[in-house]
């Protein structure tokens, strides 16, 4: 049997995608990324359920629960905790939270890739944390892509009740020339705390488009960390609506690129209500002929007085052939706000390199230390130790 997300919007989303078509570079929000290489493949969904197997990327020794998906289909579900419901979303159609929240935040009417996901979603996770429940540890969602010409459309819905607290790590790995098109919707109820990690370590020949859509209610706290290490052509979207007063948001991003990798980070922070804070920091490290993009927009609505927002993108370019496009944008529609943004692009600091070498460190060691130091601002403040270790290990491929 072929599982699928049982949603009444599937057909509408399919029709909408047929109308919108694949995004083209003529669209402002896709101006840096050409999806033609994805579009021209005749993708197929993998048949049958994913096989259960032990994989290197598993974090079940560390997580309180882990769901493994192979080519978009559930392969394994382990663990759990009191006060939190964790189930494959293909089995969740009858869940009241599914009915209330599914496809309400990730807008398939406006976004073609979200429409494509909504039309084809096979599986993913539904996580519901009940009011007042704080979950220690983290839930791991592992998405494995496998084979050539196979696409998958993982779809997750994470709902935190009032005052609930949760950490979720999504990891994307695989092998082959596959295409992952993922959507995660997160609803943070009043006073809830969500710490979300997306660790993209796709195969070098793989395509990845993923969007994380966060809806924050009053006094909620959200941190979304987007880490890109793998993939050939990658697009990360994070869209956040600060929909309740006094909500706090931290958006962290780190992309570490080499060879001819292309990673496009697109973020929108929508300050809808007053007294919300958002703090965004994306850092890029680019080697070889890789290309990185930071395209971040902060919108402050007329009613969102006392908004406090800071957006920073810093990039370290290690090669003359690497390219970075940085486009921080503020759209402010009232005058009672504190907003700033900025971006920097630089090379390794020659003075710092000399300083380290003048104390006896070899040139390669000094270089590696400085690269790690650049990333550390993002990595050090992560709370999940095993993810930190993984990222530090993955960064070692930039070593010379």
């Amino acid at each position: 049997m072929t599982t699928a997300v049982q949603s009444d919007v599937r057909e509408q989303a399919a029709q909408r995608f047929a109308q919108l078509g694949w995004p083209t570079m003529e669209l402002e929000e896709w101006k840096y990324t050409n999806l033609t290489p994805i579009q021209r493949v005749d993708w197929v969904a993998a048949e049958g359920g994913g096989a259960t197997r032990t994989v290197a990327a598993s974090l079940r020794e560390h997580a309180i629960a882990e769901l493994v998906f192979v080519n978009g289909r559930v392969a394994d579900v382990v663990g759990g905790a009191a006060g939190v419901e964790i189930l494959p979303i293909s089995e969740a159609a009858a869940h009241p939270m599914f009915d209330r929240h599914y496809a309400r935040y990730a807008d398939y009417q406006r976004h073609a890739m979200t429409a494509l996901n909504t039309a084809h979603a096979q599986d993913g996770a539904l996580i519901v944390v009940h009011d007042g429940i704080a979950i220690d540890g983290f839930i791991h969602l592992l998405f494995i892509g496998s084979g050539d010409g196979v696409w998958s459309h993982p779809r997750n819905l994470i709902v935190l009740g009032r005052g609930a607290q949760l950490t979720v790590v999504e990891t994307f790995v695989g092998s082959g020339n596959y295409f992952t098109n993922a959507v995660t919707e997160i609803v943070a109820g009043e006073g809830a705390h969500i710490d979300h990690y997306k660790v993209e370590r796709e195969a070098r020949d793989a395509f990845h488009v993923g969007s994380v859509q966060i809806h924050q209610e009053r006094s909620s706290n959200a941190t979304a960390r987007t880490i890109s290490l793998g993939g050939g052509l990658v697009r990360n979207e994070v869209n956040v609506a600060l929909a309740g007063e006094g909500a706090n948001l931290t958006l962290d991003g780190l992309f570490v690129l080499a060879d001819s990798q292309h990673v496009d980070n697109h973020t929108v922070i929508d300050h809808v209500t007053p007294h919300c804070d958002s703090l965004e920091l994306y850092k890029g490290i680019l080697d070889d002929q890789s290309r990185g993009i930071f395209d971040g927009t902060i919108i402050v609505r007329p009613d969102a007085q006392k908004t406090n927002s800071r957006q920073v993108n810093r990039n370290l370019v290690l090669s003359e052939k690497a390219i970075i496009d940085s486009k921080p944008t503020l759209e402010i529609h009232n005058d009672d706000v504190k907003c700033s943004h900025g971006s920097t692009i630089g090379q390794l600091d020659e003075e710092a390199l000399f300083y380290l070498r003048a104390r006896g460190l070899g040139e390669a060691e000094a270089r590696n230390l400085l690269i790690d130091a650049f990333a550390s601002e993002i990595v050090d403040r992560m709370k999940v130790e095993i993810v930190k270790e993984q990222i530090r290990a993955a960064m070692s491929r930039l070593r010379r």
């Binding site: 380290l356 003048a358 006896g360 460190l361 070899g362 130091a373």
Partner: protein, 252 residues
């Protein structure tokens, strides 16, 4: 220890040192004094191997080896230490991790066992007291958020840990108050022995009250124009540099 002959060097195509000669024996402390623009920092940077500085003529022999052909890290591993005039801040590189890596690179080169974390911490704590730095400095980024005086003391701390054979102090005294000056001088005095040589580069004489040099040289217009004992420093303090410049001009 160090033998500099007819050194011509500069930066960005501009020659600043015009044939400098200097010999520093083992166990000696030499002070090089001179007005701004005389080439003091160029000399320090050329000796440490800072990129962009070019040597156009002359030789520098350090313990019988051609110093100028060595990479900066190899000079450090062979025992050359430059206390920098403007120590750079390196956020994200842990002070103590960095210094341990540096010391172990040097020890490895000397054929000594690398120190483990405990042994290193013990050594570092001991040397920190010497320069009156708080232990909290250890776990901060290299020079990150340090005041000017703290940066200079950190240089002396690093010097004390790395135990160089030849220490070069590039205007380490500039901008220091009297307490910090004493701390710096004390750090250098602790290093003094028949095996260690020190080259103190300075504009002012005040550091030399606490750090008595064996030899004083005056650098003007890229050359050593006068050499003497410690009394030369006092003479410079009283008379300024003008009389040296006049003497040099008259001699031409």
């Amino acid at each position: 220890m160090l033998d500099i002959r007819n050194l011509h060097a500069g930066i960005d195509g501009k020659e600043i040192l015009h044939g400098l000669d200097l010999r520093v024996g083992t166990g000696e402390v030499h002070a090089i004094m001179g007005p701004n623009g005389s080439g003091k920092s160029t000399l320090a940077n050329v000796l440490a191997g800072r990129p962009r500085y070019e040597v156009t003529a002359g030789t520098v022999t350090y313990e019988g080896k051609d110093l100028l052909s060595m990479k900066p890290e190899d000079r450090a591993r062979e025992g050359v230490f430059l206390a920098m005039q403007y120590p750079v801040e390196i956020p994200g590189v842990n002070n103590i991790y960095f210094l341990k890596a540096a010391l172990n690179a040097i020890r490895k080169n000397r054929g000594e066992e690398e120190l483990d974390a405990m042994e290193f911490l013990q050594l570092a704590r001991e040397k920190m007291k010497l320069v009156d730095l708080d232990e909290s400095f250890m776990n901060r980024g290299v020079n990150e958020g340090f005041s000017g005086g703290e940066k200079k003391r950190n240089e002396i701390f690093q010097m004390a840990v790395l135990d160089p054979k030849l220490a070069i102090l590039d205007e380490t005294d500039s901008g220091l108050d009297i307490d910090a000056l004493r701390i710096v001088a004390n750090g250098v005095n602790m290093l003094r022995s028949e095996k260690h040589s020190v080259l103190v580069i300075t504009h002012y004489q005040r550091l030399l009250k606490y750090l008595i040099p064996d030899h004083v040289h005056v650098l003007a217009d890229g050359r050593i124009v006068k050499s003497g004992g410690k009394e030369l420093a006092e003479e410079l303090e009283q008379k300024g540099y003008e009389w040296i410049e006049q003497e040099v001009a008259a001699a031409r």
